[in-house]
Subunit: 216 residues, 2 copies
Amino acid sequence: MPPILTIDVALLALVDGQLSVALIKRDKAPSEGLYALPGGYVHEDEDEDVKGAAERVLKEKLAVKPPYLEEFGTFSGKLRDPRGWSLTVVHYALTADPVDSPLVKVFPVGKLPGLPFDHNEIIARVVERVRSKTTYSSLPVHLMPKKFTIPELHAAYEAILGERMNLASFRRKVDGMGALEEVPGEMRVSGRSRPAQVYRVALRYRSKLSLRGRGL
Amino acid sequence: MPPILTIDVALLALVDGQLSVALIKRDKAPSEGLYALPGGYVHEDEDEDVKGAAERVLKEKLAVKPPYLEEFGTFSGKLRDPRGWSLTVVHYALTADPVDSPLVKVFPVGKLPGLPFDHNEIIARVVERVRSKTTYSSLPVHLMPKKFTIPELHAAYEAILGERMNLASFRRKVDGMGALEEVPGEMRVSGRSRPAQVYRVALRYRSKLSLRGRGL
DNA sequence: GGAATAGTGTCTCTAAGACAATATGGA
DNA sequence: TCCATATTGTCTTAGAGACACTATTCC
């Protein structure tokens, strides 16, 4: 009997200023009825590769086509699934607006219930990776809506890392990364303060989906 | 028919100052007789997880128990293996002394022959990762013998990256990383010059094998 | 004008590169 | 002694954080 091969996807988003993950109520055994990471088997006829399988699961189960999807790594062994020796290729995806539905619920990563299999550990490791990448890359831009301001992005970084960052240095850093471009003329007003310049993700930083196969 | 699940290992070493990879002559179809990455199926009864399978393959096929072994990622799809939709979990390992044998040959990564499956691409991607990690981590210490000097380690970094590095800054950097410790009193003499202090990898940086499951 | 937040300028500090100066064992 | 390389010290430069200052809108 060959090992059980599955893929799982951790779809992350910022909800109410908290890094959160979309979980789905399992509709079959084992652990039927419990929330878990969306996942499934590879469909050899329709999935080009495991990343394709992850995209399909995102579309079918979560109804999202997120701008960022990357393989995280595998989790395998005899004990993690009651059905036997199994291997799952875990992916993580970032989105601005996860869809809440009767079956899908978005949990802050700090307030997860007990999950089946090793999904608590998987999420913990994915979050660790996302926090790590946040410290040196523009990854969190993929958690933002199409248009956003620097202060909004700054707040997202602070929410993900759980610590304050210097805003002036942050400005210099995002400038230097070249991941953003101004939306000409557009300013965002919030309250009775100076309006902020609106930005969007630069073209070459969008849609990692199409850059198949290149890690990072 | 479920996907074919295999693991492959890219064992890297520095041979004659060149980053090199150990390839093994395949003893069965497909591509029998060609050099390829050592790999194989997961043995559900003896492999704790895919990393365990990689360790077993290293031991059985290459007769090494390297100090560093890490999962790289997966390669999957319909086209990469003539037998059908397949997935391989690629690992990379670092060693100081790869064993050359009738079946195993060590090739400089810049002078690889055409390899079966997608093994040329796999090796290219692994090398890219190792070079990247070399720029910001102490990874290359695992390519060194038990005892070595800073200038020797410096030469290893230059060989991996293919570019010159400032030796004084390099000293400061390895100092700061805390990955090394002096071997008290031991000096290495080479030629008629001042002898160099001998170092070894600090305990907590050895044997990533035991730190199962933690990426990086 | 005042409140509140956006954005800029400047100072300091740290880390890295360049490179000069010193150290040491073998020939 | 000299040669060759190891090791240290110093100067300069680039980038990040701290923080004060200016800008702009609504009230």
